[in-house]
Subunit: 317 residues, 2 copies
């Protein structure tokens, strides 16, 4: 199988939302009038973002999911993706599973794969995602204001626990709990529906990819504010509640959860509290925005500081 | 230096053509009304697309150039780029030179770097380029018609000669000639101005990246036509004229030239012949489109067939 047969078999699908999809020098897209575009790129490298031997279906899912998560954090609707893949060999079983995982998630969110590149090399996966949002309504990182509430979607800590388990460093939490945690690591669920509903409600947002405190520090820096987080409020699976106080970094600084963290004025509290019933997704108030700079983790509102060994993941440390 | 300092120092530049550039979950772009977008992604891997130890400034240039070349082949204007980089280490001298090469080319074509990703891993460079073209006017691969002329910009064979030289397999052509050939390989010049001028003139176009006969075969397949190419017409540097008949594959199947190959009705011949003076770029009529399928290489119009050892580069053969 050569490069072009490979693309045709595994990556050339109809792209009903594009003027022209895979197969030319470039795809052709017609953005809707009155919309702005959001564009994001994330690259996953074997041995760094995922372990060698990871289920290719989950890799296909995750490669797309981490980019969809960025689009969700902007409050945008995902539309088009390109995919660049370096592969050690043209392994058909691997490609079939990878593309199944990729397109299954793409189809759920009406995302068209419109182009890309396939080459030989150390396993590396890079997706660029383009989304649409009504002009002026994207949720940026720079809109948080002192006094705003801080919210987190879903649950934290599962993905970090799964990573610890794969390094043989997980506390004894039982097999079922580890299995659920592994699901959070391998099959993250981008919060696109939530992102769109937060337009007009959230003052700022980002997705939790490197760890809550570290990611939130970026939002604070862009907004020129400080944040206070409450460890005892951080949402996690029932089975992990005891771990939250004994291993706080898993929850406050564990990466790979791909939940949304957002700030919103107190005036929107009731509207936000109504969303979980509508979306079937937990939303938890986990802190508040203050004047100043930096992120402080307390055990509870007005409680004692909690010290972490690290605050987020850094690829060059 | 951590990942965020690295991005700030080397990749966070003003993006005057974007609503929001580097630094949020995604960039925000406002396409002009009445325009369609073209989107393309190309990934370069060390040891496959370039040799280990390649000058990082030329890599920065080439990583962007190969994508700009695809935008040129669509007849579009380049606007925005994202860049995903996997690096073995945060080498500041390497990054400084790479970003200098990248931004120097980007500035010449008013392209804004609006986002990306930086991670540790085997050296891999992936760019996604977004361009704009008036709706309905992109030059696709599927518009060639029997009777059309086939044209090539610039000169062919230099890049393939430089690759042969680096493997110690180049014929003896002299140092100056090899130096010029190396320049074609390391600093390809995307033909954006030509691409825009070809709107309304060319019936189909693509860029020559894997080799003329192989690339043209894709165009023929999409258009449902055949093509006849004339070896003696293929444009090359004066110093390589003798080589054209002794090593035809360098010119007819050598990749990495990043010239444009396009088809156009005979009625546009005079208009196209006027372009070289305007653009300062050689344009050569190298063959004709015929009914049928496949690409035939002849030594001259109505001449004898020329056999090649290969027709293009394939990453999985």
């Amino acid at each position: 199988m050569n490069e072009f047969q490979l693309i045709r078999r595994y990556f050339d699908r109809p792209a009903p939302g594009a003027v022209l999809g895979v197969g030319d020098d470039a795809a052709i897209l017609a953005p809707a009038p009155g919309m702005e575009l959001v564009v994001t790129t994330d690259m996953l490298v074997e041995g760094r973002h995922f372990f060698a031997g990871t289920d290719p279906a989950s890799l296909g899912h995750k490669t797309l999911a981490v980019n969809l998560s960025d689009v969700a954090a902007m409050g945008a609707r995902a539309r088009w993706a390109t995919l660049a893949v370096a592969l050690p060999a043209a392994d058909e079983a691997w490609l079939a599973a990878f593309s199944r995982g990729f397109f299954s998630l793409a189809d759920r969110h009406d995302v068209d794969l419109v182009g890309g590149d396939t080459t030989r090399g150390p396993l590396t996966l890079s997706v660029t995602l383009i989304g649409e949002v009504p002009a002026g309504q994207a949720i940026r990182r720079d809109g948080a204001v002192a006094g705003d509430d801080i919210w987190v979607s879903g649950e934290l800590g599962g993905a970090a626990l799964a990573v610890a388990a794969r390094y043989g460093r997980a506390p004894d939490v039982g097999l079922d709990t580890l299995r659920n945690a592994a699901r959070r690591l391998d099959w993250p669920e981008p919060r696109l529906q939530l992102g769109e509903r937060l337009r007009g409600l959230a003052s700022a947002a980002l997705d939790v990819s490197d760890g809550l405190t570290g990611d939130l520090a970026h939002l604070c820096e862009r907004s020129g504010v400080a944040a206070e987080l409450w460890l005892s409020a951080l949402p996690c699976a029932e089975a992990l509640l005891a771990l939250r106080s004994s291993a706080p970094a898993l929850f406050a600084a564990g990466g790979d959860d791909y939940e949304l963290c957002f700030t919103a004025p107190r005036a929107h509290r009731a509207a936000i509290e109504a969303l979980p019933a509508e979306l079937g997704l937990r939303l938890t108030r986990v802190g508040r925005v203050a004047a100043g700079e930096g992120v402080r983790l307390l055990d509870a509102p007005d409680g004692a500081p909690v010290l972490l060994t690290h605050t987020s993941y850094d690829h060059f440390r």
